[in-house]
């Protein structure tokens, strides 16, 4: 009897926490169209046009060769959970537990959990976070936000493990947590295919699992907190179309088959696929490495004298490309003596500095500051399993973020932000 009433109270408290946040989240939706909705509508438009056909033969050839359609068609584009509406300025500020950097995390109001003990206050909840790359600013920031959220709740014990880009090791970590009967698991998978089976084993053992940013091949996974890769590539394409109706492009891309490459590059190609003036000069896979991007761009600069656009799937690649272009003294070597256009993703502080300086044209933010959503989601799944709160949807979309440009612009209805208007940049501060 006592157990029943305590469960009832906990369930009521959890529901009230969610409901308390809901009016804030839902109210502005009716007032004006959010960035999220505007970008989703543009994704729909350009995807539809690309499906009908791509008139640019160069772009179409690359799109078809790498099979982007298969990936784009299954990448979810949808509304935010609980009717949440994100606006610039939202979120919480804190010092990252791992990076020791000042962070402003944008989505701390998304699926909020009140500070203090969660679920059954008398129980300790052991949650594992496994990811790759304690040596990568983007990924350290991801872990920072997860650790921050966990620390807000005294009855959560978080174990963070770096699988060092070894998918098998990540699987073994998950298997160990299954053996240790953990309450929940959050992961950042590097590749989709190999991480499905370990996730399925955890789910079969009754442990809720939430993936962050990238996907796994598991169909059983409790929730996927998905980034906005589609919005990234699309906005790179929209900016290019807005800035120049023609150009010769070189590509610095991530690992072939990674979600980041498939969706960002695919969405970029969809956006420019029906503009005849673009030519694909060279296409490199530089695997998120600045040094490889530097080398490939340096090679391309030797091979081609008429490069006008450097497309980069990530921020590291963009910085590598910029370094190579600077070293070759080719920043203004586009046809007609114009500035070579560098398009980037990932809102690292150093990328924003280069935008401010006018060296990089634009960046589509892709924030790593989403680890907190993963922790909250897995807690709510643990609660749902115990009958303490409602279950969350399987797909938890993160809000589409507007591109950042040196000057404010309106591109197909997207109000761009300037570097000074963007407090969410990650990574170490840069001088100047």
């Amino acid at each position: 009897m006592l157990k029943l009433s305590r469960r009832y109270l906990l369930k009521t408290a959890a529901t009230l926490t969610v409901l308390a946040a809901a009016p804030l989240a839902i109210a502005p939706a009716a007032a004006e169209e959010s960035v999220h909705s505007i970008i989703n509508a543009l994704i729909k438009k350009y995807s539809g046009e690309a499906k009908a056909g791509m008139s640019n033969g160069d772009v179409r050839a690359l799109f078809e060769k790498d099979g982007f359609r298969d990936y784009l068609d299954v990448y979810p584009v949808g509304e935010l959970a609980g009717g949440f509406v994100w606006k610039p300025g939202m979120g919480a500020s804190f010092v990252g537990p791992y990076s020791k950097l000042q962070i402003k995390s944008p989505f701390t109001d998304y699926l909020p959990l009140a500070e203090g003990p969660v679920l059954d206050h008398n129980k300790k909840y052991r949650i594992g976070l496994v990811f790759h790359g304690f040596n990568h600013p983007w990924l350290i920031s991801l872990a920072d936000t997860a650790a921050w959220e966990a620390k807000r709740h005294p009855n959560i014990e978080l174990e963070v493990i770096d699988a060092e880009f070894d998918d098998n090791k990540m699987g073994q970590v998950i298997d160990t947590w299954i053996a240790k009967q953990y309450d929940g698991i959050v992961l950042w998978p590097n590749r989709e295919a190999p991480m499905g089976p370990p996730v399925d084993r955890a789910i079969a053992a009754g442990i809720p699992v939430v993936s962050l940013d990238r996907r796994t091949s598991s169909e059983q996974i409790s929730s996927e907190v998905l980034g906005n890769f589609y919005a990234n590539g699309l906005q790179q394409g929209l900016y290019l179309k807005h800035a120049a109706p023609e150009g010769n492009i070189i590509f610095n891309r991530k690992d072939l088959g990674s979600t980041a490459d498939s969706i960002r590059t695919g969405a970029f190609l969809e956006a420019i696929g029906n503009t005849p003036g673009y030519k694909v000069l060279a296409n490199y896979h530089t695997n998120s490495q600045r040094t490889l991007a530097f080398k490939s761009t340096a090679d391309a600069l030797q091979a081609f004298q008429d490069i006008s656009v450097s497309f980069n799937t990530g921020g590291e690649e963009a910085m590598g490309a910029l370094d190579a272009i600077r070293e070759a003294n080719r920043l203004n070597s586009a046809p007609g003596g114009k500035k070579m256009m560098i398009l980037a993703n990932d809102d690292a502080r150093e990328v924003l500095k280069e935008i401010k300086a006018g060296n990089i044209e634009m960046v589509s933010p892709y924030t790593p500051l989403i680890g907190d959503i993963g922790i909250r989601a897995v807690v709510m799944h643990i609660g749902a399993k115990a009958g303490l709160n409602e279950a969350l949807p399987k797909l938890i979309m993160t809000p589409n973020l507007p591109m950042i440009t040196k000057e404010k612009m309106n591109i197909e209805g997207i109000e761009t932000l300037t570097p000074d208007e963007w407090p969410y940049a990650y990574g170490p501060a840069v001088a100047g």
Binding site: D70, N168, L256, G257
Partner: protein, 339 residues
């Protein structure tokens, strides 16, 4: 009179020898500490995890041991373990349409018969291993260079053949290899044990196997004694290739997919385990049995650190320390024997 003296004459020396072996004590210590410090360490589930880990790295290390015995090295094993499975899938995906079937279906899932994939993978492993051996033995390419080139080339081929996309392998037989158990023992570990027994029988129990030691101990002397050293070097690499392919099958069966970049750096783990097991990098010393011990010590130690929640950086540090200690102890014991 001690218990050991009461034992049968054959068992007693073996047991006495084993008890003098530091690696046995290391393994016992790891298990004892694990049992005392964690309620999860000796659970059936964790032991299963442990056996599965041992199976993959153990197979790679067994092949490596045979090559190391000849005084050579094989850096291509990890790349080959993935390459062999990829070749199996790609070849079958090409054969399918010739037979009027489509075996690579939407989402890059392989839907054809799996036994031919396994057979092709094993053949590929042996063939690439033999090629390495031919390069080393007949063309006198330094084994380090030959297999480093193979590693790089195979990694490249893995991307070329897959175009960077994973192949999903969900056939029931494949899942059985990856996930099932035979009387509580994972199938992958059973496969590893069978290969271990076969290699122990061949390397330690046959005259031909003894020639690996002869070549590693003093190749010129072996040659003058009439041993066809080149053939045995090729054979050692072929065995290593076969073990790598088997490891690849077990590895990808657990992940139910194969992906070009998988298992990067596992060749170093295989070398480390062989060395921890007492195999000399200079050749002539070591055995599959001791590699089994090395595999258990390595996997059990790492598993204990994982159970404790120790971060991977510290795990890597621990591997380094254990490796240095192993090499040091092995040198000391060899000096003692020579004295």
């Amino acid at each position: 009179m001690s218990v050991l003296e009461l034992s049968t004459p054959r068992v007693a020396p073996l047991l006495q020898g084993a008890l003098r072996d530091p690696i046995i004590w290391l393994i016992l210590l790891i298990f004892a500490v694990g049992a005392l410090t964690s309620e999860y360490y000796l659970t059936a589930l964790n032991i299963e995890n442990l056996m599965r880990s041992i199976a993959v790295i153990g197979l790679l290390s067994l092949g490596m041991t045979v090559v190391l015995l000849t005084g050579r090295i094989d850096l291509s094993v990890a790349a080959l373990m993935i390459f062999s499975v990829i070749v199996g899938v790609v070849v079958m995906a090409e054969i399918g349409p010739m037979l009027g079937s489509r075996w690579l279906v939407r989402g890059n899932t392989y839907a054809g018969p799996i036994v031919p994939v396994i057979l092709i993978a094993l053949t590929t492993g042996i063939a690439v291993g033999a090629l390495n051996g031919i390069g080393v033995a007949y063309f006198k390419v330094a084994s380090f260079i030959m297999t480093l080139v193979s590693l790089t080339a195979l990694r490249g081929f893995n991307y070329v053949l897959t175009n960077g996309h994973p192949y999903y392998l969900k056939a029931p037989l494949y899942s059985w290899i990856g996930d099932s158990k035979i009387v509580g023992i994972p199938v992958s570990f059973v496969i590893f044990l069978l290969v271990l027994l076969a290699l122990m029988g061949f390397v330690n129990g046959s005259m031909r196997g003894g020639r690996f030691y002869a070549i590693g101990g003093n190749e010129k002397a072996a040659l003058y004694a009439g041993v066809k050293t080149q053939r045995y070097v090729v054979l050692a690499y072929a065995i290593s290739g076969l073990c790598a392919a088997l490891a690849g099958i077990i590895f990808t069966a657990r992940l139910k997919s194969v992906d070009a970049p998988l298992a990067a750096g596992y060749e170093l783990t295989a070398i480390a385990i062989a060395v921890i097991g007492g195999t000399a990098l200079a050749g002539g010393i070591g055995s599959p049995w001791r590699t089994l011990l090395g595999s258990i010590a390595f996997a059990a130690g790492l598993n204990l650190l994982a159970i404790w929640g120790v971060g991977t950086w510290y795990q890597n540090l621990a591997i380094g320390v254990v490796l240095i200690l192993s090499v040091g102890l092995s040198k000391m014991s060899r000096k003692k024997t020579q004295a």
